[in-house]
Homo-oligomer: 504 residues x 2
């Protein structure tokens, strides 16, 4: 038997090189969405295809598989060596999945998704679900094939979910969501019945873009985004792009007469960015240097955006600054009025515009529908009717067009079935982790009112960021908070915050 330590180091060297090559893909993607000239698109897709092919060959190379087999049987994979065990567990997990997929199947599905996305853009523009339907059908077929090839214990949907939230199952998530759902509907109804209303017009005044950019960057830096190791650029659909240590880039979109979109967008992406900036550099390219899951990632963006960024205390710090930056828009506006305006709750049709309370209902709706599609309980052609019916049940309104309904999101057209739950999981993890931070850090929220965000960032760095992928998400939550994931902390947080605002 070969020396396991040597094999392990060879494996890590290979994956560090793979990460470097992936980071070249990342910058091509970042550039495509920020600065690439229009006519560069053909060349860009050829560059991307070349790197994807090279990466696939490297990641599925037989010597990776044989090294992993050696290591799985070695002491390095045992509980006595938790760090190497985590690396081996996660690398083997990805490898075993990848090699189950025939290359032709992957290439065929890539083509199908590219076509479906193009058609989806057109279908959404023209409100033509029938146009998209055959593509949606094919995608569901392929995802069901995928589940069969990858394998699953209880539910084919688990195999899909696993790509975005490794180890999560329909059963576990479904239980949390089911309990959460009814309480959310009740809370939204209470809020709708309240006679107190914020003045939302405060937010739709003149907010000059250059000033928004300056204020947004100041706020991002205040919560701990490191601009010496990152940037802020403009794009159409904001994202956070991480090349690697020292290079984490966030993006936003500015509206000259709407304040919240860019400001909270920047804080949200900064949350993702702070997580990536806090990953241990020495493990870059290996699971121990990577983030846990999409859900845990989203917990960081949502915690900073909502639990910190939209908090009463943070605006004690930010509001005087906002007044200085936007003297015209905020003349005569009180801190309380502003705070209420940025926290208005109102059922709306579009997920990405939803408030903290109803956002989760948008997600639960998609989760229930895509599960039904994945297990064959719902047919693709039934999606519009099911969407509208469920929307009314959950949010009390329903869309008059599919463009504002089941065609609004890009995910399904891109084959991303199983992705949506990670958004609500992010909120749930965030609340549970934030409550724990509050119990461990004295004066946490009071600090926000003085612009002191460092204790939270340090706590998160120590408890989450520095660990990389050492634990799966469910286990991490248990390790950090001492309890399994529950909807209780989030519903408690929402009831407290919005109960006060809406005087429930």
């Amino acid at each position: 038997m070969p020396n396991a330590q040597l094999v392990y180091e060879q494996l890590l060297t290979a994956f560090k090189e793979i990460a470097l090559l992936q980071s070249c893909q990342t910058i091509l993607g970042w550039d495509q969405r920020t600065y690439m000239p229009a006519k560069g698109v053909g060349l860009r897709s050829r560059q991307m295809a070349l790197l994807a092919g090279m990466l696939h060959a490297k990641i599925t190379a037989p010597d990776i598989g044989s090294r992993l087999n050696t290591l799985k049987a070695s002491d390095l994979a045992s509980g006595a060596n938790p760090e190497s065990a985590a690396n081996i567990r996660e690398l083997a997990y990805s490898y075993d999945k990848l090699v189950k997929l025939p290359r032709e199947w992957v290439e065929e599905f890539t083509r199908i998704k590219a076509m479906a996305q193009t058609v989806w853009v057109e279908a959404r523009k023209t409100n033509d679900f029938a146009l998209f339907l055959p593509h949606l059908k094919t995608i569901i077929d392929f995802k069901r094939q995928y589940a069969d090839m990858i394998g699953y214990d209880d539910d084919p949907y688990d195999a899909l979910l696993d790509d975005f939230e490794p180890g999560a199952t329909y059963k576990e998530i479904g239980q949390v969501f089911a309990a959460f759902r009814d309480e959310l509907v009740a809370l939204a109804a209470q809020i709708a019945a309240s006679t107190v209303r914020p003045d939302g017009s405060i937010l739709t005044r003149d907010y000059p873009v250059e000033v928004q950019e300056k204020f947004g960057k100041e706020a991002a830096a205040a919560i701990g985004f490191d601009f010496d190791g990152g940037r802020l650029d403009q794009t159409t659909h904001p994202f956070c792009s991480t090349l690697g240590p020292g290079d984490v880039r966030i993006t936003t979109r500015f509206y000259p007469r709407f304040f919240p979109a860019a400001f909270f967008g920047i804080i949200h992406e900064s949350g993702h960015g702070i997580y990536n900036q806090g990953l241990p550099e020495e493990h870059y390219g290996t699971p121990l240097g990577s983030s846990v899951s999409l859900g845990i990632h989203e917990s960081q963006s949502r915690m900073w955006e909502n639990m910190v960024g939209r908090s009463r205390t943070a605006w004690r710090h930010f509001f005087p600054r906002a007044k200085a930056y936007f003297p015209q828009a905020l003349t005569g506006v009180s801190e309380d009025d502003f705070y209420f305006a940025i926290n208005e709750v109102k059922p709306s049709l579009i997920r990405v515009e939803a408030d903290e309370v109803t956002y989760n209902l948008h997600i639960i709706l998609r989760f229930e529908l895509e599960h039904a599609l994945a297990v064959g309980q719902l047919k693709a052609e039934e999606v519009p009717a099911a969407w509208n019916e469920k929307f009314r049940a959950l949010l009390g309104i329903s869309p008059s067009t599919d463009t504002e309904g089941c065609l609004q999101d890009i995910h399904w057209s891109g084959g991303m079935i199983g992705y949506f739950p990670t958004y609500a999981l992010g909120n749930l993890y965030a609340a549970q982790l934030f409550a724990q931070a509050g119990s461990e850090i004295p004066g946490l929220e009071a600090g926000f009112s003085e612009g002191n965000f460092a204790p939270l960032r340090q706590w998160l760095t120590e408890k989450i960021y520095r660990l990389g992928k050492r634990y799966r998400a469910a286990e991490l939550v248990k390790v950090v908070t001492g309890k399994p994931l529950s909807h209780e902390p989030l519903i408690r947080y929402l009831r407290g915050k919005f109960g006060r605002l809406y005087r429930l």
Copy 2:
């Protein structure tokens, strides 16, 4: 013997893939000099090293060599097939050079250059030639070793020159430069003795950066730079970066109280960009889709910058626009005064700030010195004295510090000995090509005064850009103008233009 056509296609496929991978390097380099955050430098150098290693392996792969050998002996390399013959000639030429260099030697020289550049930065800052001297010595040693490994007929300097201006020789260039040099010195002296002087202060007024950017982009678009297939960004040391078809990026640096630097810098880089945008897309990745040489490339930037951009006729078109863009700075300034100001001739110490006449003397000085270093006639420690003496002989002044003298340029510290002549060659080619364009295009310069630059661009596209590397530089000049390279067109152009301005 294998089917030559098949082998040829396999070879081109390999090189098209190599070009795609190189274009990933290009965007990493572009990003590093425009947007990369400070802390990203470590990751960037690892990404660059990875791609460089992968590219080296691909370019020097044995099957490339065996394919080239097959093709060199085939009909595809004969005059009957000029296109494939040019591709095979150039690919074999690069390959044969590369495989002569031991890998350890290349890696060692890479380290030496990196160190020398760091030391050079410090030496220039502190005016400490002695600090840089040992590094310069080592670099000269390595370049002399390089010449021996690559081989040469007459002069070791030819092997160095060949990297930047393939096929050029010290003898040929030296003859042209020698004749040119004396005439230039005489012309500069005549100008110095003239009693007529422009008012240079016109150019050092308030020129707001945003307006400069707008005007510069308008001018770049006017001469034919395609912004749908390119961009303009800001950087410290401006450059043009070509990813490939549809993606050609130029950069500049703005000074709020100095007009010419950014404006003519943009026109200069646009000249490079227009060349690259005009290369035949179908040959991307092969010599037929590549530019001829650094000298021919520079001829395009200098032609657009000087012969067009600083011409009397172009400013009939641009000056009314400049007045509208900069009403404050240009109040009471006449078109003639402005035209004279942007064409002031005055001996100066710094190459990159030199005017059209004296610039060539800066280059000839470097050419003579670096040749003497390469053949062992001059020792590295003698450079400062030789520089200052030659400077006085050519330009009538001499630097009081090495920072303003022999330490001013980055080239030698980066191992680029043999590069400088391409700058003066660019001017010489430009003049000869521009004179030919003038004789073939009716009303060429009159068109500039109406903002009509398309005929020149179309002529250059047809005569030069579309041909890629079909001809070497010297041959191209002969094919396009019917004559070998001569200093006559440039000296005639300079005498005419500056004779009128300075009333000689």
